[in-house]
């Protein structure tokens, strides 16, 4: 049985390595400079690059962060620092529940709330859907980090005559700022890879656009369109897109892990 378990573990690692190495191999094979520098050419034999999608994803992430980071962090502050409020337990539960909502359902909500009233697919709806996914994740991770701040910090600050808001904003939050930032990075990594919520909101576009009022490109939606389409040139772009996405997530994860390990060492 021991060897069976070790075998199962080895099989898991092998399958996962197989998947990732395949994605990396094929993706690297078709990756070129034009992927990062060109927009789609409209010619299926020579399809250009994914610059529009990269720009689109970055703008969507920025817009989602504008709403998602402050709302998430302050919701986390509420959960920890105003924990005696009668709302705290239900709020924590709701955030947990929201974190488990299937992302396609979030996309449908975005369609009903922001696409139908605004008269068409648009980038705002996509960003809002991503923010919807982001807020509960950021809120819970911020709360967890704030709980690590020793009580003596708060008491010391209050004893020196600081108000509650000064204590929270100038003492408590900065003392775990790095950890909160890593939580935010993980949430960003998660929404950068989301496709389903964008299908019915931002939809996708073949143009480099800076106007979120119109259908908006994103890396994941473009990968999906290309991968399920019939043209080999576009499929190759989809593979490269996957590689770029995975590389991005890998770097974020590695950084987060390094930062967390350092933070843990310092705290102990």
């Amino acid at each position: 049985m021991f060897w069976l378990c070790v075998g199962a573990c080895a099989a898991v690692v092998m399958v996962l390595v197989l998947v990732v190495s395949y994605l990396v191999k094929i993706g690297a094979g078709s990756l070129s400079v034009s992927f990062f520098t060109q927009a789609p050419s409209g010619d299926v034999a020579n399809p250009g690059g994914m610059l529009h999608a990269l720009v689109g994803t970055l703008i969507l992430l920025a817009l989602a962060s504008l709403l998602g980071i402050p709302a998430g962090v302050f919701a986390g502050v509420f959960l920890c620092e105003y924990g005696h409020s009668r709302l705290a337990m239900p709020a924590r539960f709701t955030a947990d529940v929201l974190a488990g909502v299937p992302s396609i359902v979030v996309g449908i909500l975005g369609y009903e709330l922001l696409v139908v009233p605004l008269g068409g697919y648009n980038g705002w709806a996509g960003a809002a859907a991503l923010a919807f996914i982001m807020i509960p994740i950021v809120a819970r991770s911020t709360e967890e980090m704030l709980r690590l701040v020793p009580r003596s910090y708060r008491e010391g600050s209050l004893a020196l005559g600081a108000t509650k808001s000064q204590t929270i904003l100038r003492i408590v939050l900065p003392s775990v700022g790095g950890s909160i930032l890593t939580g935010i990075m993980l949430a960003l990594a998660r929404i950068a890879g989301e496709t389903a919520p964008l299908l019915f909101t931002a939809l996708g576009s073949r143009l480099i656009t800076y106007n979120p009022g119109r259908p908006f490109p994103s890396l994941t939606a473009q990968i999906y369109t290309y991968a399920t389409g019939p043209y080999p040139g576009q499929r190759a772009l989809a593979w490269s897109g996957i590689l770029v996405l995975i590389a991005m997530l890998f770097i974020i994860n590695l950084t987060v892990r390094a930062v967390m390990a350092r933070a843990a060492r310092i705290r102990v």
């Binding site: 509420f78 449908i108 990968i223 994860n253 892990r257």
Partner: protein
């Protein structure tokens, strides 16, 4: 640190910073406090609003479908968004002929959710059947073997990174690698080995009614079917089940393990003791995997074949709730169609929330037990 809920309960007691403050303070200072309190409460309110909007908007938009179909929606076996035109059959079962031409009749669209509920249930069940034993074994290795050979950190990082890979990446791999592999190598082999045994015949043949006769035909093996969907889902949920199970197993008290070893248990017997001790948390880990599998969209849409019918065979194309939404929502042909899709979304939401709540409840219970491990 990945799983917030576990730590929460333990440290709940110690933070109540603002509750006993200095009795008097200047008015001007209260303004900042007020602003922060309002912002924080506002953000919490936003979280409630999000949940309320989610349920409210979906329910409101699904109302026409509720009214039209009622509870029969859940058990309707036909999902056909378009009208069907077919020759009208007379009471004797023959085509009605008028002026030398057969009379056509138009059947209105039908919406029943059973095929997609079936698809979600079966694909998730397949995924769990593949993923749970493997994940538990991996978690056991992570907890009991890996630390001794200094592989723990690396394996843990791998598992966590793999949980972060977006589903579209698994989807594209499933579509271009796994599905063709199943179609060319695995499924023909299985068909040769098992196809003519009576007990497995239903997997490889489909029964069709053509012109009143029942015909049995071998199933066309496409590779993009229920089995492929289940396998891709299994690969996707192994990391999450493994990492949660690992935390649950770590919380098993050291005394439990040492006790069983002291009584002469073999390595595996002591593992069984650990699994038994952490059973509710491990069940919760599986439920988390199930919730993820049931809500998963992109990967499944790309590999499951997207055929909205109920077929018993795992080698037949199928459709899950989420893949149905991904395929049809943008091109819904009528108001009723869209409303029916929204009702499917609502069912999906309620189902995955139920799994999630149950899982969190079980996992928090298991990892918050006092433990002297580590």
């Amino acid at each position: 640190m990945k799983r917030p809920s576990a730590a929460t309960h333990m440290s709940e007691v110690d933070v109540q910073p603002g509750s006993q403050q200095a009795p008097r303070r200047p008015r001007s200072r209260g303004l900042g406090d007020l602003a922060l309190a309002v912002t924080a409460h506002g953000s919490a309110l936003l979280v409630f609003l999000m949940a309320a909007f989610l349920v409210g908007v979906l329910a409101f938009a699904a109302a026409p479908s509720f009214k039209r179909f009622g509870p029969a929606f859940l058990v309707g076996t036909e999902w056909r968004p378009n009208e069907l035109e077919r020759p009208k059959l007379g009471p004797d079962g023959k085509m009605v002929i008028k002026d030398g031409e057969s009379v056509m009749e138009i059947i209105p669209p039908a919406f029943g959710a059973l095929p997609v509920i079936f698809g979600t249930a079966v694909s998730s069940a397949l995924a769990l059947a593949f993923a749970v034993p493997v994940s538990l074994a991996t978690a056991l290795v992570l907890v009991r073997v890996a630390p001794r050979i200094r592989l723990g950190a690396m394996l843990s990082f791998m598992v966590e990174f793999l949980a972060a890979i977006p589903s579209i990446a698994y989807g594209i791999w499933g579509l271009f690698v796994l599905a063709p592999f199943l179609q060319r190598h695995v499924e023909p082999l299985l068909q040769q080995l098992l196809g003519d045994l009576g007990a497995f015949r239903w997997m490889f043949y489909q029964r069709l009614t053509i012109g009143g006769e029942v015909v049995e035909r071998p199933l066309a093996l496409t590779g993009r079917d229920m089995l492929c969907g289940g396998l891709v889902l299994a690969i996707m949920i192994v990391p999450i089940i493994t990492s949660v199970s690992r935390d649950v197993l770590r919380a098993v008290p050291r005394a439990q393990l040492e006790g069983s070893l002291a009584l002469g248990a073999t390595w595996w017997q002591s593992c069984v003791a650990m699994l038994h001790y952490g059973r509710s948390g491990l069940f919760g880990a599986s439920m988390l995997g199930l919730a993820r599998a049931a809500g998963e969209t992109m990967a499944v849409t790309m590999v499951i074949g997207n055929n909205t019918t109920i077929a018993a065979s795992p080698f037949a194309p199928a459709q899950t709730m989420s893949s149905l939404l991904a395929n049809e929502f943008a091109e819904a042909s009528s108001e009723l169609h869209r409303s029916a899709l929204l009702e499917v979304a609502l069912i999906l939401l309620v189902m995955s929330l139920a799994f999630n709540i149950l899982a969190r409840w079980l996992v928090v219970g298991a990892s918050a037990r006092p433990s002297d491990a580590s």
